[in-house]
Amino acid sequence: MNTNKAEVLLVEDQPAAVRLVQEVLKENNGNHNLYVAKDGVEAMAFLHREGDFALAPRPDLILLDLSLPKKDGREILAEIKTDDDLKRIPVVILTVSESEEDILKAYRLQANCYIIKPIHLKRFIEVIKSIEKFWLDTVTLPPE
């Protein structure tokens, strides 16, 4: 079992959203480490421990935006969930897209859950806190 801190990978290209997630998660008791990949290519390099990411930890949880530069979040989700070594890592989709097609597709590709980023700051903060509380305190995450 993973008794250490949970490793969380945030895949997000918007600096403001990154900063907000960092701030909100930092407030808490620090039961996790947060890593950020700012595009899809970086995210896959991190997960496969390539190049700069040779020493990257294996994430216990991934927060994934859908609209990303270089490689789209939908492609990343499909790659993770069809990779025998990576597919058990829970992927939380965190996106502005409310399109029914995106929601349906993400669940069909086996996203663990789909969350729409609230526009209002206060609500966004609540959502991040809920993700943290649910996935890091209530759920049993997969072993490495």
Binding site: R88, Q110, Y114
Partner: protein, 152 residues
């Protein structure tokens, strides 16, 4: 953004053979502010009939969320999970594993079979109700569930 606002009750399928756990789960959902219908089936075969609308379940709703125990009579929860997640029609239904098992093998296998999350049942009654409430709060007020087009 959530079902709560659309005013339509949410449909939850609980697959659980322990009468005590069923009662506690029902209580937790009854206290909820959220309008919900909780359907209970006691074994894996019944769960699959419900989902496929067979026999007495011809009029069953497609659930918005499934709470699935692993140790079940007739058909095991692991088998139910594998069937749901490999069925093109059913796989988008979020499945929350809710079990007493803390075995690494069960946790790993469930995630590999694409369980949406794995939760170990607390033994303490109050803790159990708290967990059920946090499942409800997270999945119905934070998460955007898949469109449930096949309803009605």
């Amino acid at each position: 953004m959530c079902s709560e606002m659309s005013g339509k009750p949410v449909d939850i399928l609980l697959v659980e053979d322990s009468a005590g756990d069923v009662r506690l789960t029902k209580e937790a959902f009854k206290e909820s502010k959220l309008r919900n219908n909780l359907y209970v089936v006691g074994d894996g075969e019944e769960a699959m009939s419900f989902l496929r609308r067979e026999g007495q379940y011809a009029d069953a709703f497609r659930p918005d969320l499934m709470l699935l125990d692993l140790n079940l009579p007739k058909k095991d929860g692991r088998e139910v999970l594998a069937e749901v997640k490999s069925d093109d029609n059913l796989k988008r239904i979020p499945v929350v594993i809710l079990t007493v098992s803390k075995a690494e093998e069960d946790i790993m296998k469930s995630y590999n079979l694409h369980a949406n999350c794995y939760i170990t049942k607390p033994i303490d009654m109050e803790q159990f109700i708290k967990v059920v409430k946090s499942i409800e709060e997270f999945w119905f007020t934070i998460v955007k569930l898949p469109p449930n087009g096949a309803k009605g």
